[in-house]
Symmetry: C2
Subunit: 257 residues, 2 copies
């Protein structure tokens, strides 16, 4: 299996603190050694860092830990391979273009014997079940809305349907974003926390590192962090209920439909 | 305008030496300050580093300069904006999926009033002429070969046709690769050098740096470097003739068709 980390905020924020704890699980405090990746949206642009090395041993992960890239939509992943070899093309997040925007997807889980057919627009490059699921999601969205991107309320029921049908094949926790919308689906395990005023200090589980957000924030800031398991041990994380598909906006979870 | 750098080799090779000189042109020895990017293929996987900062001031460029990533197909670009704002989504190389592989493209030149219509599969995310041209190339390839990737000989005449028709709109020097094929088109300015046994020392134009390739190579190694203008001052670079579309394979230029 793998682990997911996402961030959605109302102002561009760096993810250094959360990524510090998360990346430690890529071979030190946990077993997710088979590659990692992170995507940062900046406007319509998207930076995607991928490495098939463990995140604790990757110079690129070291850069991401130390270089504060500010973004409102971030998706990261550390991999413990279930399907697909340990290769760069199998590292999440995956990225494709739809409606003139980049879409980014990362998956935690396993979809045995998942083999979607008849895809016209999207084709996987690697050999993971995850990339196939991502392609099927985008294919379905595009076939139903061939020209223009629908509103959040317009896209949600269709995304929920295709998500449910894929989730029947196995375990399907995922994060999905185009830099405007941000979706988090819980099939078995996914939690979030919303940090907002009054801010406090937070302490990582995986490393003895504390950050006092009172020093780093404005009162109007709001940041949601979504992770497979909580990253801090002195804050209250909310488990997302299995079967729930949340849309995050400006650092807040919305449950639509 | 912009500058291009490409590498095609018969064994995975790092591009640190060439990138060192090239990146210096992104704000120090030349004026290409409006972003940069580099794509490295590893098998079917592709690492893409992009930054809208000048390459001389980018921590990500610093990583690429210092961390030897070995690849047989590399495309890099430093940008001096002509069309499109200084934004991440306008940084080259651009990347899309076709026939289950990633395709990467970078452009030097300017295509005024270029507005391709009727594209079904590919749509630009940013607002450069370059990304539009890339989308039109992929769209044309896909419309003509909807299912499977053709041979190099099969793809070449079609790529040449669409390239010529775009080049009529302005200046269209480009590099294009999917990690297997590697194309270099010269519209006005593009040169290459093939380094092979007997190897010698090379000295950068943009910095006082020398590398002795005898210390770093095996006799069977062969590396082609393609660049807008030569990167070294003690080697003989071959200008590609305007109108020529070369395919590089295992470090050698082929002229097909």
């Amino acid at each position: 299996m793998c682990q997911l980390l996402g961030m959605n905020c109302n102002v561009p924020t760096d993810i250094c603190f959360s990524f510090e704890g998360f990346a430690t699980r890529g071979g030190k405090t946990d077993e997710h050694r088979d590659g990692w990746g992170i995507a940062f949206f900046e406007g319509k642009g998207c930076r995607l860092f991928l490495d098939s090395k463990p995140s604790i041993a990757s110079p690129i992960a070291e850069l991401v830990r130390c270089y504060p890239i500010r973004s409102t939509h971030v998706i990261a992943h550390i991999r413990k391979a279930t399907q697909g070899k340990i290769l760069l093309e199998n590292c999440h997040p995956f990225r494709r273009q739809l409606w003139g925007q980049y879409w980014v997807f990362a998956h935690n889980g396993d979809l045995p014997a998942f083999a979607p057919q008849g895809m016209e627009f999207y084709r996987p490059v690697g050999d993971t079940d995850s990339e196939k699921a991502f392609c099927l999601i985008l294919e379905t969205l595009r076939q139903n809305f061939p020209k223009e991107k629908p509103s959040l309320e317009g896209i949600y029921p269709l995304l929920k349907d295709i998500t449910n049908s894929i989730a029947e094949k196995g375990v399907f926790n995922y994060l999905l974003s185009d830099g405007e919308y941000f979706f988090a689906h819980c099939s078995t395990q996914l939690s979030y926390i919303v940090r907002q005023a009054p801010f406090a200090a937070a302490h990582l589980i995986d490393q003895d590192v504390t950050v006092d957000f009172r020093q780093l924030t404005k009162p109007s800031d709001r940041v949601a962090i979504i992770a497979t398991t909580p990253l801090t041990d002195n804050e209250l994380w909310t488990p997302i209920q299995p079967g729930d598909l949340l849309a995050f906006q400006d650092g807040l979870p919305l449950k639509l439909g």
